[in-house]
Symmetry: none
Subunit: 423 residues, 2 copies
Amino acid sequence: MVTASITTIGDEILIGQIVDTNSSMISRELGAIGVKVSDMVSIPDERSQIISRLSEELSRNQIVISTGGLGPTKDDITKDALAELSGSSTYVRHKGQEKMVYDILHSRGLDVLEINLRQADVPDSCEVIINRRGTAPIMIFRFPAERFGHPAVLYAMPGVSYETEAALPEVINDIKAHFPVNDIFHRTVMVYGLAESALAKLIEPWEDALPKDIHLAYLPSTLTGVRLRLSIYEGERKFEESRIDEQIESLKAYLGDKIYSLQDDTLEAVVGRLLRESGSSLAAAESCTGGEIAHMITTVPGASDYFLGSITSYSIGVKEKLLGVPASLIAKKGIVSSEVAAAMAEGVRRLIRSTYSVATTGWADAYGDEHEPAGTVWVGVSGPGGTITEKYNFKDDRKRNIERFSASALDLLRRYIIKQLKR
Amino acid sequence: MVTASITTIGDEILIGQIVDTNSSMISRELGAIGVKVSDMVSIPDERSQIISRLSEELSRNQIVISTGGLGPTKDDITKDALAELSGSSTYVRHKGQEKMVYDILHSRGLDVLEINLRQADVPDSCEVIINRRGTAPIMIFRFPAERFGHPAVLYAMPGVSYETEAALPEVINDIKAHFPVNDIFHRTVMVYGLAESALAKLIEPWEDALPKDIHLAYLPSTLTGVRLRLSIYEGERKFEESRIDEQIESLKAYLGDKIYSLQDDTLEAVVGRLLRESGSSLAAAESCTGGEIAHMITTVPGASDYFLGSITSYSIGVKEKLLGVPASLIAKKGIVSSEVAAAMAEGVRRLIRSTYSVATTGWADAYGDEHEPAGTVWVGVSGPGGTITEKYNFKDDRKRNIERFSASALDLLRRYIIKQLKR
């Protein structure tokens, strides 16, 4: 079996200033082509450490992927270490990356300095994958069998996740071209509205009956709910995929509309498609979620086709004056109440003249009042079928409560729209 | 200098199912008592790997902290590996942890099974710190100098962050009691409005003149700009901190108001403090940023004290009707223009009656019009000192352009408020 090590280079990780998320992203992609990750290592920006630890990992694994240490400033000494490791002392300027450095900096209205151009210089012992989102190219060093006891390849990638992510498919393709790897077959089922443990309990009979070669993983997230991943590690693609699809069909009987997508998806993308396909529009009124719902919706490209706008009503004045929520209702029912959530949803729909609207009012952190405790949100959804509300309670910190509130609101909206479209 | 390695044990990290956040939490606490983290390693739940990799790290470091591998289903592997590593073959049941197992399970209404009680069994070669949030105790293995060439200690902690976090202070106290630890001295300088390379160029003379024992690192981010970190690894706290502060003073001459904080901070937190301290309020009108600015502002606890609300005006109708931006102005100047940004800022400030307001209009992705290309944003800021606008251009993807637009808007707002308060 082909094994890989993932090595992260950078003091900022070792002092705990940054959490390494690149390694898990890379290991998921390696897993998908059947490469087993044998370890992950984080080391400092020290030349001798970089050389010795990468050599160790290259001796243990056919593939080593490093991230980080390639920025233009002086704390980055990785490139020199890699040149030494690969026995090169000559740098050459990679024309394709050089052009990219000009393109990227010019597009940001910045002058191109020599320090930037030097980013395109690489040891002559490596091949290059152009970094299309940053100035430091991805370097591929191939070592013959006599060097580490087996043929080995080192992929040196930048540490910025956004850049790593974009270049990763090309690295994976290079691995597929040079190593005997299998495809692993995956299907993803996106589920919202059940905690991981409750979901596991609910689908237990289905899970117990799964064929032994179909592996199930639970991947929970505050913003997307639980992603169920079904995998088969070998076989003939078409046949194995249809076997997974059969299992998904029987899973639907357990979960119904709690399944919101059969691809790796987000609630805001699914809501967006429903609105676009039905030619409908949306407005939002946000109190405790403070703009997060609008932000999630507008992160989807083309959202302007269906999203008209929103009001973030953080003060009571804005709720009364703009959304037309009566002060007497707030006084009587409490600011976090079904009635206020409904009035906000109706108010913003009237004001912005949208087909649908969604509204939130809640306590994201340590507050709470005599009516509702901290972590409670009331969500209102309004549309041609009238107004509905629902209450949710979570016990996370402020940031994660806001995320859970927003995702719950989008999920309630999603189910409301689906019901409307079925009428 | 005392060094430590942090080793994470668990397949779930290597397949990318879980991101390791324990290591960064632990390394921050070690850094605060002057223990330098020399590496972080993640390894699988395999007995031979656990023994060999922990031995390697104990040879390189005086302190090794492992997390994970101690759950009730997996504990045989890690605990047996640790017993072997420490030359023990006898387990003893730790009375204090046994009582905790009963307390924890009873408080959850669960029966105590033999599998649970076995969690309190530890090799007789270790000392114990009781885990008050879980059933697996923290085990301390002390190795004499002849074993690894220097006295070394292994702390084996559980992998659940909530449990690790609670036990960490006792581990840190044990380290302080057994090793000659110093403090490491850090200072952070937050800079906005300069790319990493431009910043490096600008402060090059200052950086070249830095004393050799003061280490500088650049940590860029789309939302917070560039974080500069200055560190000194040994010395007397008060003296060394004043040496760093001197350097920061001379850095100010290069950067002026591009420095927005001298602590690990965000633009939205700094803006929040300025507003709170001056008793002022804020409103926002967002087009292309789609709620992200409001979201950033309201992620700060207590934001309701100064943030009144915002309008996300994704449609032209909302810009005209709610914000009072004249249709003729949009037709004449273009929707992405200085004039429209100014009119939006003034409109929302009038509507919501805030001291200050900030507004954005731009093209977050592949659109653009005859006036402005994709990646352009006009930001408007309005307040008692009148209205100002500024244009920014970026060429990232949609999501990151939105982040950069929002951060740039908060930064323009920050500088405007500071000027106002100086009057």
